[in-house]
Symmetry: C2
Subunit: 186 residues, 2 copies
DNA sequence: CATTTTGTTAAATTATTTCTGAACGTTTTT
DNA sequence: AAAAACGTTCAGAAATAATTTAACAAAATG
C-alpha cells in the first residue's frame, strides 16, 4: 500500500497548505501566491518556475508573478543551483523570520506613508490656523484635526520602533519562544 | 476667503484619508471600507448610514456592508444617539486601540485556524510513521514534515501569546509610547 | 553567430468582486 | 392598524483582478 501512505502524506500537507493560504489571504496575499508559498514550505529543495508550474498546475507567468510577490515580502529567496541555469527559489521555513519580514516591512511602509501624509496635512492646517481671515468654525476644526494628527503621528512613530524591534529580533526578549507546551515559566 | 480655508482643511484631511485607506488596503481591507473608516476618523460626531452615504457619495447598501466590516474588526462601534432612531457609528480614534483590535483578532484567528490544521496533519503523519507497510521514502518525508510542523506549532502558540499581550496592552510595557520625539530614554 | 533556453511583458479572456436599485422584513410613529 | 422609516438582502450590472496564450528580450549553448 505504498500508494496509500503517499496519499496520506499529501493529504496531511494539503490540510496545512490550505490553512496557510487562507490565513495569508487575511493579510492581502492573493490565494495563489499564498498557496505557492505553502507548497514551497513543504519542499526540501529549491523550486524552479517549471517545478511550480507543474506543482500548482498553472501557467509560468502566474508563477513568475506569485514568486515575485513572495520575494517582495522576503519570505522566499532566490538561490543558486549549480548545474541548472533556471532560477531556483527557496521558502523561508522559520515562521518567526517570516513574521519579522512580513510585518516588519509592512509596518515600516505603513508608518512612512502615513507620516508624510500627516506632515503635509499639518502644514495645511497650520496655514489655516495662522490665517487672519479664517473663520471661527474653521479654526476650531483645524485645531481639533491638528491635535488628532499629533496623536496619530505618535502611533506611526511607535509603529516604526515596533518594526525595528521586530526586524532586530528584540521582541523575542519580551515574548520568548517557549521550548515546550504545557510548561509555564512563572 | 472663508471658502478657501474650508477647502484647505478638506485637502488636509483628504491627504490623510487617502493614506489611511491605502495602508488599510495593505492588510486586505477593501478600499471603500478603508476610506469610510478614514472619513469617520475625522468626524467628531457619530455618523448614520445616511451621513456616510452622503459623505462618500455611495449607496446605502455599500455603506451598510462597509460599516459591518469595520465593526467586525472592532474599530467602529455602534453608539446610541438620543432623538434619532437611526443607527449611529463612531470610529476608534486611538490608533493604539485600533492596532490592538485589528491585529489581536487577526492573529488569534490565524493561530487557531493553523493549529487545528497542524493537529489534523500530525495525526495523519503519525499514521504513516506507525504503519509497518510504509516505504522508507515515505517514512523519511513524514518525519521531516512532522518536525517542521512542530516548529510551526510553536510559532502559532507564540502568536497566541502575542495576541494576548496585545489585547491586554502588556506590549506597551515592552515598547512604550513615547511622549515626544527627539528624546531618548537611555 | 545562429539557436535554444529562460523569464518577463502584453493583450485578451475569464473569473471575481463591488456596487446599485429594488424588494423585503422589522420597527417605530401617528 | 396603517403608514413611514430604517437596515439588510438580493439580483443584475459595472468595474477589478487574475489567468492564460502569445510575443518578446536577455542570456547561455554549441
Amino acid at each position: 500500500m505504498k500508494k496509500k501512505t503517499e496519499e496520506l502524506i499529501e493529504e496531511a500537507e494539503g490540510a496545512v497548505v490550505n490553512s496557510i493560504a487562507e490565513t495569508m489571504d487575511l493579510y492581502g496575499i492573493t490565494p495563489t501566491t499564498g498557496r505557492l508559498f505553502a507548497r514551497m514550505y513543504f519542499k526540501q529543495k529549491p523550486m524552479t518556475l517549471d517545478d511550480m508550474k507543474e506543482d500548482l498546475g498553472m501557467s509560468k507567468p502566474s508563477m513568475s508573478i506569485a514568486v515575485r510577490n513572495l520575494q517582495e515580502v522576503s519570505i522566499v529567496q532566490k538561490v543558486w543551483q549549480r548545474g541548472s541555469r533556471k532560477d531556483s527559489f527557496l521558502a523561508e521555513k522559520d515562521f518567526f523570520k517570516y513574521f519579522s519580514h512580513f510585518f516588519g516591512s509592512k509596518w515600516e511602509r505603513e508608518a512612512k506613508l502615513n507620516l508624510t501624509a500627516i506632515e503635509d496635512a499639518e502644514k495645511m492646517l497650520k496655514k489655516v490656523l495662522d490665517d487672519e481671515e479664517s473663520g471661527e468654525e474653521a479654526i476650531k476644526r483645524a485645531k481639533i484635526d491638528y491635535e488628532q494628527l499629533e496623536d496619530y503621528r505618535k502611533y506611526c512613530k511607535w509603529l516604526e520602533r515596533l518594526s525595528d524591534s521586530i526586524e532586530s529580533g528584540e521582541i523575542f526578549d519580551f515574548l520568548p519562544v517557549e521550548e515546550e507546551t504545557g510548561y509555564k515559566k512563572n
